[in-house]
Structures are given as structure tokens and as C-alpha cells.
Symmetry: C2
Subunit: 220 residues, 2 copies
């Protein structure tokens, strides 16, 4: 049975990139947006790019129809976007890719969140959902360029063992990516922080970097 | 001319591991400790292990004689250890490997530091020094096992370009490690956080992991 993934706020570069990679991996992808028109447009664009058939829908319809829900909304949009979707999402697995970055004086940093991480804030906004932090460190440019050979690891954190496993499998279905169990949802804080470090490295080296965990071979 | 490195609080596993690797790389290594006896003992132990000649000294003498100063004291020891060394250290390059981890309810997390990171706290305690954050993510077990083939990247952060470059070169002198410029000292916060993530991964996978930055080739 084909599994479906709803990408909430999926019309930006990160959302479209994940949509492309997951469509290629064989998932049925529904791109969600506040605007139905922009959702259709993005679904058509990524459909043409990948030669797959993607759907577009308003966020709430997308959330209702996906087996999995992936959040690619900006951090600042979480508190407005999520509560209206709570009923449609119910107890589904919700993947937070959200990184609360701020830019000031040409420097990047993480916002200090009382919850600890964006993923934990998502859990607070969707208390029934099985929230998983993942895909934080993949650059949108490489995701959406489907000719680019992805490599590296996606650290997957949640407090639900089955949800963690499902998202690790989702990650492993994308080309050469590997999902690595990072432990509890609270660890997402450090994974989100890695993105701030990578943005700093990317600027200095004019590159688009991500990470790999070294030392897991034979311990997997 | 051989460069010398003083390793303050260098009698623990991390300090002895770095001492071993740097001695093999050709640095003159002085292991510092509050206790001269323990410093001599550790220097002898690592000298035997590496077939190199290491020195042991009280922290203050070590700090005075090293071209570089590396801090491998526990986070909780910084405020007691550093002020008495400030004069001996002067404007030297000081490498903070310190990670402010706490363990509670069998979970690892970072202490919330007002300075942002241990490295920035070191800078506040040693305002004249050129503080560099580095070597946070290398496990002591692999460092001190000199038969273990190290691999992976060391993210190096500081507000002084020359100090950053010197520590990148120091890193590159250790076997297959690569130093990667991470940008300003404030980025150390995220690099220190990676250690908390790796501790979580290590527990789950019964491994000793570190990280590699993917995507720098050709942008270096």
C-alpha cells in the first residue's frame, strides 16, 4: 500500500525539495498551503520536475488526508498554523523540520525557546500527535535539485519508538540518506542547533553542507 | 621550531587522549594538573603509550610554558581553575574543549549558560586570551586508543582569524582529522550541543560517534 505524506506549508524551497524527494521515493505527496492556488501550483511544478503525480490542497485538507504530516512552515508561523489543524492531524505522526533561526548583525543564531526546541513547541501545540524531529539539516537547494546526489545522515528524535522507526524508514527511502535514531524529542534542540552551525559554515565556505555521523558502522 | 601545547586539567581521558594524539603529531606536550604528581604520572603514562617524551607540570607552570593552551577541565571547574591562570596565559591561544553537559533522569542535556556556551564563558574569564572552541565532539575513548583510526571533522570557532587558522592546522596535524572553520566563537554553542546529541546517539547505538561535515569538497 502506498503511504501518503502531507507537507504543510510545502510551497517554499524546503517543502518543495522534500516533496520532490519523497515523490521519487514512491510516497503519494500532498503539498499543503494556506492558499489552495499556490498548493496546486507547487504540486504541478514538482510533478513536472519529478515526472510523478503530486496533489495540492489547503493545509487542513492535506493534513486530513496524509498518513504522515511534515511541517515545513517557518518557525514564526507555527502558533497560527497548527491549532486549526489539530483536529485533522489527530494522533498522526508529525515531522517537524522547523528550525528557529534568527539573523541579526549578519550573524545567525537560534531563538531561545522556552519549550527547548521547535519540535517540542510543535508537540505542545499538537498534544495528541506523535511528533518527530527530522530533516533539519538538509539544505533546500540540494533537496530540490533532483540531479544532486544527496548524502549524509538525518538525525530523527521523538518520544514514540514506532514514530521514530517510521521516519527513519522514510529517510532511508530517499536516495543515499540514512536515518539515525537520535533519542528523545528533547534532543531535537541540538539537531536544530546544528542548522545554525551549518549556516555559519556555509557562508564561510560558500557551500551547502549537512552532516554525517561517523562511528556507527557495526553498531547499527 | 617545535610548538608546545599545555593541556590544562589534562589527566582525565579527554586530556590524555589529546595529549597522545598531539604528541604523535609532533607537538611538545605539557600535561597540566592541579596536582603535580598526577601531571607527572599522566605524562609518563602517555609517554609510554606513544613513545614520545611528554612533560607534566602544575596547571600554572604548564599554562606559562605552552605556546597553545588547551582546556580539558570539566565545565564545573572553569570558574575556579581559570582566574589564577590568567596572567600566565596572557594573550595566548586558548582552546576550549569544554562541554557543559548535565545528566538528569538518565537523560543528557546542555546547561543553559548565560554566556551562550562554555567557550564564551572561558572568554569572559580570560578576556585577553584568543579563545577558540574546538575538539568538542571527539570521544575520549577513541582519542586515547592510539590504534583507533580517527576520522571526522573538528569544527573550530573563534573571533580571531589567526587563532582559528592555527587550531585548524593543529587539527589537521592529527591523523585523518580535518579542521573546519565554523565562524565566530558564539557558534561554539551549537558545536557543544552536538556533543549532547552524540551522547544520546552513543547510548542508543552502543557506539562512540563523532561528526563529519558533508558538502565542503570543492568549496574549501
Amino acid at each position: 500500500v502506498t503511504q501518503s505524506v502531507a507537507i504543510i506549508g510545502g510551497t517554499g524551497p524546503e517543502g518543495k525539495g522534500l516533496a520532490a524527494r519523497l515523490a521519487i521515493a514512491g510516497y503519494e505527496v500532498i503539498i499543503g498551503s494556506r492558499s489552495a492556488d499556490r498548493a496546486f501550483e507547487a504540486a504541478g511544478e514538482i510533478g513536472t520536475l519529478t515526472s510523478r503525480s503530486l496533489k495540492g490542497a489547503p493545509n487542513e485538507d492535506a493534513a486530513a488526508s496524509g498518513d504522515f504530516v511534515i511541517l515545513t512552515v517557518p518557525y514564526s508561523g507555527l502558533t497560527d498554523t497548527l491549532p486549526p489543524l489539530a483536529e485533522a492531524i489527530g494522533e498522526k505522526v508529525v515531522v517537524s523540520t522547523v528550525v528557529p533561526l534568527q539573523f541579526a548583525n549578519r550573524r545567525v543564531s537560534m531563538l531561545d525557546l522556552e519549550a527547548g526546541s521547535a519540535a517540542q513547541e510543535v508537540q505542545a501545540l499538537l498534544p495528541r500527535a506523535k511528533v518527530v524531529g527530522a530533516f533539519h539539516n538538509l539544505g533546500a537547494g540540494h533537496l530540490v535539485d533532483i540531479t544532486h546526489h544527496l548524502e549524509g545522515d538525518v538525525v530523527v528524535c521523538s518520544d514514540d519508538a514506532e514514530a521514530t522507526q517510521a521516519v527513519i524508514e522514510m529517510t532511508n527511502s530517499i536516495q543515499a540518506l540514512r536515518g539515525v535514531n537520535g533519542g528523545p524529542l528533547a534532543v531535537s534542540r541540538y539537531v536544530e542547533g546544528i542548522t545554525a552551525m551549518l549556516v555559519s559554515i556555509n557562508r564561510l565556505h560558500k557551500a551547502e553542507t549537512n552532516i554525517k555521523i561517523v562511528g556507527l558502522d557495526g553498531h547499527y
